[in-house]
């Protein structure tokens, strides 16, 4: 009896210590980013391009990287969603519930999810050399979309599996095709979940450096066509941090702050959508 009480106490203390540790780490990271970031932040950073001298400590900003990142993450998310939804549909609407093909597909996507992004970057780079392409916006979009494809597919797939079979059958028995049922019933039932998955993937896409390092390239100007090379936020942070000039290094933290705020907003938004009651859900 006595032993059990002590055991309980011991593990409770352990849990509290772990939780406190994690929260303090988060607070530490955020405050250091905010303090360091704010002190070197100015309006020019988000409204101007580097104009040549920025990385040497002169005037300018990282608007090119902000816009480049949004282009790449947005394009990749759109592409991955367009490719992912048919796959989810295949696994959950067309194939039978306990089909072996679905099981194999799920395993493949789980494996892909775990592949480090530099591997995708290297793979993309090899392909580009093979086809004689240069680093460009479109190459970045394609490689990042492959990176986030497993995230989108598995996240939507997981919530699709919560759709009751009876609902699916109800629609079929009214004479709907599987396609109609997929779009008009299944998608409606899990809409907030789909949006959450898409936002999650966008968050991952905008923060990843390794996949765009060789594929999107880097440019001081805002890309105007798909074949232009494009700057991204993670890479601009990398370049500024590796500069020997103190002022440039400090400004890297302002860029970190910008990226963090974007990612934070996206997670908050997706959390909001998940919690928001889906009015029509059965």
């Amino acid at each position: 009896m006595k032993r059990k009480v002590i055991e309980e106490k011991f593990f409770l203390v352990l849990m509290i210590i772990s939780a406190t540790l994690i929260v303090s780490i988060i607070v530490l990271i955020l405050t250091s980013i905010i303090i360091k970031g704010f002190s070197s932040f100015n309006l020019a950073m988000v409204s101007q391009t580097p104009k040549g001298g920025y990385y040497l400590g002169k005037e300018g900003g990282i608007l090119n990287a902000i816009i480049g990142s949004f282009y790449i993450a947005g394009g990749a998310t759109a592409l991955a969603t367009a490719l992912g939804i048919p796959v989810v549909m295949l696994m959950n609407v067309y194939l039978k519930a306990d089909s072996k093909v679905s099981a194999v597909l799920r395993l493949c996507f789980d494996v892909l999810w775990g592949v480090p992004s530099i591997v995708y970057g290297a793979f993309g780079f090899t392909l580009m050399i093979f086809f004689g392409l240069k680093a460009s916006l479109i190459a970045g979009i394609i490689v990042v979309s492959i990176l986030i494809l497993p995230i989108i597919i598995r996240a939507i797939d997981e919530i699709s599996q919560t759709i009751p079979e009876g609902l699916f059958h109800a629609s079929l028995s009214l004479g709907a095709t599987k396609l109609e049922t997929g779009f008009k019933v299944n998608a409606k039932q899990i809409l907030p979940g789909i949006l959450t998955a898409v936002l999650m993937a966008f968050g991952r896409a905008i923060g990843d450096a390794a996949s765009v390092l060789f594929t999107a390239g880097y440019s001081d100007s805002i890309p105007t066509s798909l074949t232009d090379s494009a700057a991204t936020l993670p890479l601009t942070i990398f370049f500024q941090l590796s500069s020997p000039i103190k002022e440039v290094q400090d400004r890297a933290f302002a860029a970190v702050l910008i990226l963090t705020i974007i990612v934070l907003c996206i997670s908050l938004l997706s959390r909001l959508l998940t919690n928001r009651h889906n009015k029509y859900k059965i």
Partner: protein
């Protein structure tokens, strides 16, 4: 006895286990046919064969024929959506679609080509009245169907099924999730609807079968043991298994 639904030599295997054994049956038109029998005897399986929902189960094998209006529904030429449109389904638990009350009833007609707002409106009103739900929902047609009570949801599902103008209504224990009042509602509706539809009702409740069935099919272990006019089967069962079930079981 006229029959538009004829089952011939139907066998169903789930993997290696046989769930239906050589079923032969004519379903009488515009009557209520009750399928009764102990749990696991294959009632749901038989019902699912009639609208081919059985095909969404993995590793299932169906042999034999089911004729609906003279057409073998398992022939490769048969379009499954066309068949299902003829066979309205009322499941054990109501599954309203994730949309408004109005859209639930309009779902089927929209699928099959009705798009005019006015036309849809009158269809929705007509079938909600038919299912005895109109007065309760007429002021909140645009609110989510999930907000209705279970009994109301089941009547909504009935209205939704009727709106595609089926020939047959299939019910798989459609009252078992409902309170007595809602069950009675559904039973009364079936009695009214049999003037226009053939109704096939799987039920565990022997008293329900006695109350509303015109024709009884008694199944045991994948086989049809006895079938015939309700009064005959219920009052003068011939087969020992039927006698045991009809006189003995708790209902």
């Amino acid at each position: 006895m006229e029959s538009n639904i004829k089952v011939r030599n139907l066998n169903v295997f789930y993997g290696a286990t046989q769930a239906l054994k050589n079923i032969n049956l004519d379903i009488p038109n515009k009557q209520i046919t009750a399928i009764i029998g102990p749990s696991g005897c294959g009632k749901t399986t038989l019902l699912k064969c009639l609208n081919r929902l059985i095909e969404s189960t993995d590793e299932v094998n169906v042999t034999g024929q089911v004729y609906v209006d003279g057409e073998d529904i398992y022939s490769p030429k048969t379009e499954v959506t066309h068949l299902r449109k003829k066979m309205g389904l009322l499941s054990q638990k109501p599954y309203p679609l994730p949309m408004s009350i109005f859209d639930n009833v309009a779902y089927g007609p929209r699928l099959h080509g009705t798009t005019k707002k006015n036309e849809l409106k009158s269809i929705v009103e007509f079938y909600l009245k038919e299912a005895n739900l109109w007065d309760e929902v007429k002021d909140r047609l645009s609110s989510p169907a999930s907000k209705l009570s279970i009994g109301q949801q089941q009547r909504l599902c009935l209205a939704r099924g009727l709106a595609v103008q089926p020939l047959v209504i299939l019910g798989d224990e459609p009252t078992s999730a409902l309170d007595p009042q809602s069950s009675a509602y559904i039973e009364q509706m079936f009695l009214k609807l049999k003037a226009d539809y053939s109704i096939i009702l799987v039920t565990h409740i022997l008293r329900q079968a006695k109350r509303i069935a015109d024709y009884i099919v008694y199944m045991y272990d994948g086989e049809i043991i006895e079938h015939g006019e309700a009064s005959d089967v219920l009052n003068h069962p011939k087969h020992p298994k039927t006698i045991e079930y009809v006189s003995g079981v708790i209902s």
